[in-house]
């Protein structure tokens, strides 16, 4: 219908949805950068099906006057590229949602109840230009136009973006963008759409990255020079990032035959002086487990990035969940120490991955970076990454003639030599071994070796990263979260507008920081928020501290919490007992 009006300030949620293959990702890639360059705060995240063509995939782009970094349920502007898109997003479309679509798409959808829409002849314009493949680029022009991105900047960006596709492609995409831009100008002129989001010159100079890039940059900062992995959604983008940058940063990136090979090869790399990591998800990590134990036994450093997705088995391959904390915590048979880190912010992801390499090297243990699909695939702008404090600490010792790889020490750390550096020999053995590294069945020595390995946990715990408290110190209600939910919980908390509510966020989930119990005891009410069905972190906190977190908000449908739903759920708990 043609009387539609959208009047919106500060924070606009735009969703584009279509079939896989309709170019939603291209739109996301162009608009996030373009709008950020124009001085808008940007957040973008995608949800997609496990298929190459068809289905319904969507991207949410938040454009705001203030910093934004979490998923909303609300949609202010929706551009559906298929009729199915409307059904797919049914629960998120409200009377306030303005839909920009071909009238056929509105007519074809099963519910056919949407009143607030503007007919835009995407298919007609696209076919005039050269085919349906330009539909997505028309939408880029529309959104850029609605936010009054400079016509020249837009044109220049499009030219650059499509430059590798040849002259013809550049021209056609330019004209698609131009058409979209003109449509936006008409919409603004007729006041059908009024948007007032403040721009900020400082924002245009900020960086915009996603979780995968943050992990990748952190790895390079930590001195990573070897990655061997097997592609698996949603972890692959870290492998892609490091492969693309391998030449530039002197690292070896190898796609191997399976995950078992990946981690065993990476262990070989550490043994010979490399700084290696693997990236994987769910089932791929399950295959790596035996070698996690190998790292434990041969006391090898290892950095393992696990991007969680819903399981068991193949589960929901492209969706998100925080369901593998306990898997990672107990992975590998036998008893040995490990460290589990779980970034909540992009800055954390870079910093923690960087630290992971130093911690792994120092304590000669596996260190996990636990993310998830939502975290890996979400973009937003941040001022920068603090790399000035980047330091790579290499704990390699030159060996002498009598070198013993597993020398018994009080803190459990035996100086680590590598083959070919010094006069000594370096022995690694998956069997229980003596100080030199040879197989042993001396059962007293067995005890000494187990104790030595576990002794490292003391130092690791002392060095644990404390949880981050957001809110006032004299809180009465404490929300507890870990990993990727940081910003969603934070924004939900802000929506509540209560000064007595604080968030305690853990970016190191194991070992749990010794100060945790004090935080929990101080609260009158505690609520743990997790993206899984069995409250895995809550259980770990109970095991570690004895504290039983009373209220739980758990979600496991494969989609991250939205700010609105979390706000409501926390509110409901708080209202219950007033």
């Amino acid at each position: 219908m043609e009387n539609s009006i959208l009047k919106k300030t500060e924070d606009i949620s735009i969703v584009l949805c279509g079939k896989a293959g309709q170019g939603i990702q291209t739109v996301e890639q162009i608009l996030t950068r373009l709008l950020k360059l124009s001085g808008f705060h940007i957040f973008a995240t995608k949800e997609y099906m496990s298929r190459v063509r068809g289905g319904s995939n969507s991207t949410e782009i938040r454009v705001s006057s203030n910093r934004v970094s979490s998923l909303l349920n609300r949609i202010d502007i929706l551009i559906p590229f298929s009729a199915a898109a409307l059904g797919h997003l049914k629960k998120r479309i409200s009377n306030e949602t303005l839909i920009l679509a071909d009238k056929e798409i509105i007519a074809d959808n099963e519910d056919n109840k949407y009143l607030n829409w503007i007919d835009i002849s995407f298919s007609g314009i696209a076919s005039d230009i050269g085919g349906a493949i330009y539909t997505n680029i028309i939408s880029v022009g529309i959104i850029a136009g609605l936010f009054k991105v400079g016509a020249d900047e837009l044109d220049h960006y499009i030219e650059q973006f499509f430059s590798t596709g040849g002259k013809k492609s550049v021209e056609k995409n330019r004209s698609a963008v131009q058409k979209g831009y003109e449509i936006a100008q008409e919409l603004l002129h007729s006041k059908k759409i009024q948007i007032d989001v403040a721009q900020n010159a400082d924002v245009s100079g900020e960086i915009i990255i996603n979780g995968a890039e943050a992990v990748g940059i952190g790895a390079i900062a930590g001195g990573c020079n070897f990655i061997s992995s097997y592609p698996m959604s949603p972890s692959t983008s870290v492998l892609t990032f490091l492969s693309r940058n391998a030449e530039n940063f002197n690292l070896i990136a190898e796609q191997v035959e399976d995950e078992i090979s990946a981690i065993n090869m990476a262990l070989g790399a550490w043994y010979a002086g490399g700084r290696a990591m693997v990236t994987t998800s769910g089932g791929g990590f399950a295959l790596m487990e035996e070698a996690v134990g190998l790292a434990g036994m041969i006391e090898s450093p290892m950095v393992i990035h696990v991007a969680q997705r819903p399981g068991p088995a193949t589960g929901l391959p492209t969706r998100t969940e925080q369901g593998d904390l306990q898997l990672v915590l107990y992975s590998g048979h036998g008893e040995f120490p490990r460290i589990i880190l779980a970034p909540g912010k992009l800055e954390d992801a870079a910093d923690l991955t960087h630290r992971a390499f130093n911690l792994a090297d120092k304590y000669q243990v596996p260190v996990f970076i636990l993310t998830d699909q939502y975290f890996i695939d979400s973009y937003y702008n941040i001022p920068s990454l603090n790399l000035s404090e980047t330091h790579i600490t290499q704990y390699i010792e030159k060996t002498d003639h009598d070198y013993k790889r597993y020398r018994l020490t009080k803190n459990g750390i035996s100086p680590r030599g590598i083959p070919g550096y010094g006069e000594g020999l370096v022995l690694a053995d998956s069997d229980e071994h003596d100080e030199k590294g040879h197989i042993t069945e001396d059962l007293d020595l067995r005890i000494a070796m187990v104790d030595k390995r576990l002794a490292k946990l003391t130092g690791i715990t002392e060095e644990a990263i404390p949880p981050e408290l957001v809110g006032k110190k004299d809180y009465k209600v404490l929300l507890i979260g870990w990993g990727s939910t940081f910003h969603v919980i934070r924004e939900a908390m802000e929506n509540l507008g209560r000064v007595d509510v604080a968030l305690l966020h853990f970016k190191q989930v194991y070992p749990v920081h010794p100060g945790t119990l004090d935080y929990l005891k101080k609260a009158e009410r505690t609520i743990v928020i997790e993206g899984n069905a069995t409250c895995q972190f809550g259980s770990l906190v109970k095991i570690t501290t004895g504290f039983d977190i009373r209220n739980k908000i758990l979600k496991y449908n494969g989609i991250q919490f939205t700010v609105e739903e979390l706000t409501e759920q926390v509110k409901a708990i708080l209202d219950q007992e007033g």
Binding site: I396, P419, I439
Partner: protein, 288 residues
């Protein structure tokens, strides 16, 4: 030749008296000495099994990892430090059964390592079950009616994948085993040496005598660069040929395909991160 620099002295060894492993160990030490490899610059990687204990019985750097997983760490070791000589050595169960997938892909990847397989056609450490190379009809406590699977043919598989060096020897022939080992170790690229070996405890079929009756040596005028002929010899069953079946000279090794070694061969642990470059990279995300 004196192999003292690799000798462990009087140690307790887990092999059965009369085991072919002793001869293989002796041949390996001699081959290493004769090729001039220093113990400090060598790493022997193994998996699990009786053969996989071999690194513990000579003085060098060792990585005795998981069952079936010797080739991935061997590849990783050579990749980060090209200055090391790397040998991956285990039994037929380890390399062809549990680690079969890695065997296939190591050939494709072509790391500059030597893969030595003690092939006694039976499982020793788990006490006498069939191995991937057990001959059809081989009766064991598990395969009570005899194995019904076709034996795995590592030589044919390696040649079909265009492996860069493929050889088979017999543990009973010390000199020949040693000479082929030397060639395999000095070969650039992935080399596989399958060693036929009796198991005196669990294989009562494929004995020293049996092997002597069922092997022959590739002729002096045999041409190892003829891949079709190599394959034809590889699939012979009645009498098993010994020697270098196939060589693909000049095939680029894994390290040679890696950009990190396009300009220099310095091991990675001696290199430093260009922090300024990384800061510049992050800064590029401001405008990109």
């Amino acid at each position: 030749m004196d192999t003292e620099q690799f000798d462990m002295g009087n140690i307790d060894m887990a092999w059965c008296p009369g085991c072919g492993n002793f001869g293989i160990l002796k041949a390996l030490k001699s081959a290493l000495v004769e090729t001039g490899i220093q113990p400090e610059k060598l790493v022997i990687v193994s998996g699990i099994g009786q053969a996989a204990k071999i690194p513990h019985y000579l003085k060098t750097n060792i990585f005795n990892g998981l069952h079936g997983r010797a080739l991935p760490p061997a590849t990783g070791i050579k990749a980060v430090n090209p200055g090391l000589t790397v040998i991956a050595e285990s039994g037929d169960g380890d390399m062809y059964g549990e680690g079969g997938n890695h065997f296939i892909h190591a050939i494709r990847r072509n790391p500059d390592i030597t893969n030595i397989i003690h092939n006694n056609m039976v499982y020793g450490l788990t006490k006498g079950q069939a191995s991937p190379t057990s001959q059809s009809g081989f009766i064991t406590p598990v395969q009570v009616n005899g194995t019904n699977s076709e034996p795995f043919n590592p030589i044919a598989v390696a040649i079909s994948l265009d492996a860069s060096f493929v050889a088979r020897v017999f543990a009973g022939d010390f000199e020949y085993t040693k000479e082929i080992m030397k060639k395999a170790i000095t070969h650039k690229g992935y080399s596989v040496v399958d060693i036929l070996q009796p198991c005196v405890t669990f294989n009562k079929v494929n004995t020293y005598e049996w092997f002597k009756d069922h092997i022959y040596y590739l002729e002096d005028n045999y041409n190892p660069s003829d891949r079709t002929e190599a394959f034809r010899r590889a699939i012979e069953k009645d009498r098993l040929p010994l020697g270098i079946f196939y060589i693909h000279p000049g095939k680029p090794s894994f390290n040679e395909t890696l950009p990190v070694y396009s300009k220099e061969t310095t091991p990675l642990f001696r290199r430093e991160l260009d922090s300024e470059k990384l800061v510049g990279f992050v800064d590029s995300k401001r405008t990109a």
